[in-house]
């Protein structure tokens, strides 16, 4: 059984007001073209003006979300920095690649190349926090963020004494990346308004999104908002696999379906995952309230970060935002939350979080 990952704080930069959570879903930000781009906070708070000028949008978002997360937890220097991203800074990669093609490999400047390196946000956060400890970058598609939590669990298991980790994930949406993913069936042919995504679950595809999500994790319960006590990554499970694994995770903690107060479900409006999602929903207890988030976040490889941010938000504010409720359950308690994310490739991650 895994050692708890106590969440001290979270910070996300997303299409919604998550960076300024007092305005979360007030108003709801939506898009009609299937592209939910994230909002821009004031980046100058954590990054010097000189650095900002050369920095691409994803670097600014990643660094700012990471620094704000640590500030929220009152941590100056974490013991480790573990970040996941399926594609890193896409804009930088595109810029360097297109410059190289257009300029026929002559007179290139290295900025895009350097910043497109997948661990560049790791490096910056290490510099800004003077964190010389463990530093790792996972780039495994829809499990990039989950692998960070997995690694955090290993790190705590190896540690003696109190330790704090900055863990997070980010992915970027660009117009070109949208074109590419659209060609492999990621997005809906007929776009709907993002808010009504889940009522269009009869057609294949989802909508695109982006975000940067960071979490300050501790192996000590003091000042924690909640604790991750279960984590599973399932590669294209069958319906039966999924049911069994959920039952296993719950039973490890002496819980049953009835004990799940909230299921935060990363359903993405894609008809091709009904065979997984429908039984999951049907199996929930009448107690359980089901909440969804992809209509606010859009779909991307580290979108589960939005779900984890929402989990932390619910524990912090002791209520579920009404607009996120898919099905109201009878339990008014907020003690056990199961986050279930599903990707376009039908991979599933399960994260069990309990009140601290």
């Amino acid at each position: 059984m895994m050692q708890p990952l106590y969440i001290l704080s979270a910070c996300s930069i997303t299409p919604q007001h998550t960076y300024d959570p007092e305005h979360f879903l007030d108003p709801i930000i939506s898009a009609d073209n299937g592209k939910l781009y994230s909002l821009d906070p004031d980046y100058s708070k954590y990054i010097s003006p000189v650095a900002i000028r050369r920095m691409s949008r994803m670097l600014k978002k990643g660094i700012t979300a990471g620094m704000k997360c640590l500030e929220n937890a009152n941590i100056k220097t974490p013991d480790a920095i573990i970040i996941g991203s399926a594609r890193g800074s896409v804009t930088d990669m595109e810029n360097f690649l297109k410059d190289m093609i257009k300029m026929k490999e002559e007179a290139l400047t290295p900025t895009g190349f350097i910043q497109s390196t997948y661990n560049s946000v790791n490096g910056w956060l290490a510099m800004l926090t003077k964190c010389t400890g463990y530093n790792q970058t996972y780039v495994h598609r829809g499990f990039s963020l989950e692998l960070c939590l997995f690694d955090a669990q290993l790190f705590f298991a190896e540690s003696t004494g109190p330790k704090q980790i900055l863990a997070g994930g980010f992915d970027e949406l660009t117009e070109e990346y949208f074109i590419i993913r659209n060609k492999i069936g990621y997005y809906k042919e007929q776009m709907c308004n993002s808010v009504s995504l889940l009522s269009h679950s009869d057609t294949p595809g989802s909508i695109a999104g982006e975000g940067a999500h960071f979490f300050a994790l501790s192996n000590q319960p003091e000042n924690a908002t909640c604790a991750i006590i279960g984590l599973q990554m399932l590669q294209q499970p069958t319906t039966e696999n999924l049911t069994t694994v959920i039952a296993d995770i719950l039973s490890q903690h002496n819980l049953t379906n009835d004990d799940i107060d909230i299921l935060i479900c990363g359903m993405n409006g894609d008809s091709r995952n009904h065979f997984l999602i429908d039984p999951l929903i049907a199996n929930t207890s009448p107690n359980t309230t089901i909440a969804t988030f992809k209509q606010f976040s859009g779909e991307y490889d580290t979108a589960s970060g939005f779900g984890l941010w929402l989990t932390n938000y619910i524990f912090t504010h002791k209520q579920i935002p009404t607009a996120a409720i898919y099905k109201q359950g009878t339990s008014s308690r907020i003690k056990n939350i199961l986050l279930c994310n599903v990707t376009i490739a039908n991979n599933i991650s399960l994260i069990l979080v309990k009140a601290s």
């Binding site: 190289m100 490999e105 350097i114 490096g123 910056w124 495994h140 074109i179």
Partner: protein, 403 residues
Amino acid sequence: MAERVVVTAIGIISALGTGKKAHIEKLRRSESGVRNVAHLRSIHAADFVLGEIKSSNDELAEELNLPTGDNGYTRTTLLSLAAMNDLLRNTDIELLRNEPFAFINANTVGGMSKMEDIYMDVINSGTDENNNKYINTLDCAESTENVALHYGLKPLMATISTACSSSSNALILGARMIKQGIVKRAICGGGDALSRFTLNGFYSLKNVDKHTCKPFDQNRGGLNLGEAAAFCLLESESSAKARGANIIAVLSGYANTNDAYHPTAPSPTGEGACRTMQQALDMANLKPSDIGYINAHGTATQNNDLSEGMAIQTLFGANPPYFSSTKPFTGHTLAAAGVIEAIFSMWAIQEQLILPNMNFETKMEELDIMPITSLIENVPLQHVLSNSFGFGGSNVSLIFSRA
């Protein structure tokens, strides 16, 4: 005390060839794989020497019994499959089917070597059916997933990308998972194919040498890029012994730290590198004097060799163990570099060899120490240290010990 992690199988393809025999022969003969390229289509192709693998994509595909032409396999994946095939020559694949294992891969630019040829078509008209076969290869996990899929395996998978230290980190993750009892076995390594993207990236940073690189030389002129893929089968010592596996070496120590100094340059004093090597020694419960050979990162860039040289001098003193960079043999193979050099370190122990730092002529004026420049045989090595450092301040050291 946690169980020891051992290496029981190796698979490798680099500019020196495929498999142990081809590599050892060339390492013994001081024969470099860095040369003028045959496959990379760059306008700079004639200007640079690179550690390019001799086989074309079609030749690699044929060796793997895959269709030739636009088969949807990027060169990165083809190289990774070639390395995995080499590993499976000495490992029963049933072992991987019968018990859960982890597959930890490392990569820096995914299928860029293909996507850079077709990118404009893909984002514009994009009607070419053949191009669309590669459309989902512009991420680092493509080779990981395609290798697992090719063999019909469903391991616990992860892909790591920490620039030039990526595959050393893959080995560390596998070892940690074994020590924590999550899996008994992990196949860990990485691969990168040459691409114009990476070549031009390093060229724009002005740290590519047009001639064969000269690590730790006063007149070094930068790195030579290369391509490679390699994997190691890591296993708990008890499960290796239980199945009577041949133990190649023990992964006795490792460390991952960050410089927290600069986005691309290491600290000139080598503070970070020194701390990393020290932590690896601490884990292995060794003193600096226990190390018989250091396979250095030694990229032959101004920054790396100064920083790493200072670190070695600080930690090991004026009379350090034999050290060399084997990058003049293979080129800098980026995500694969860590595991390639980890394998060279294990072979050094197995074959009692100290590998030479080719092309060295002049001692660096900042340093009192010099690398070993010729092959030495019959050196009974007990412990070998291998360094990998990367952009983003990423530092990794690994220690391998005689089984």
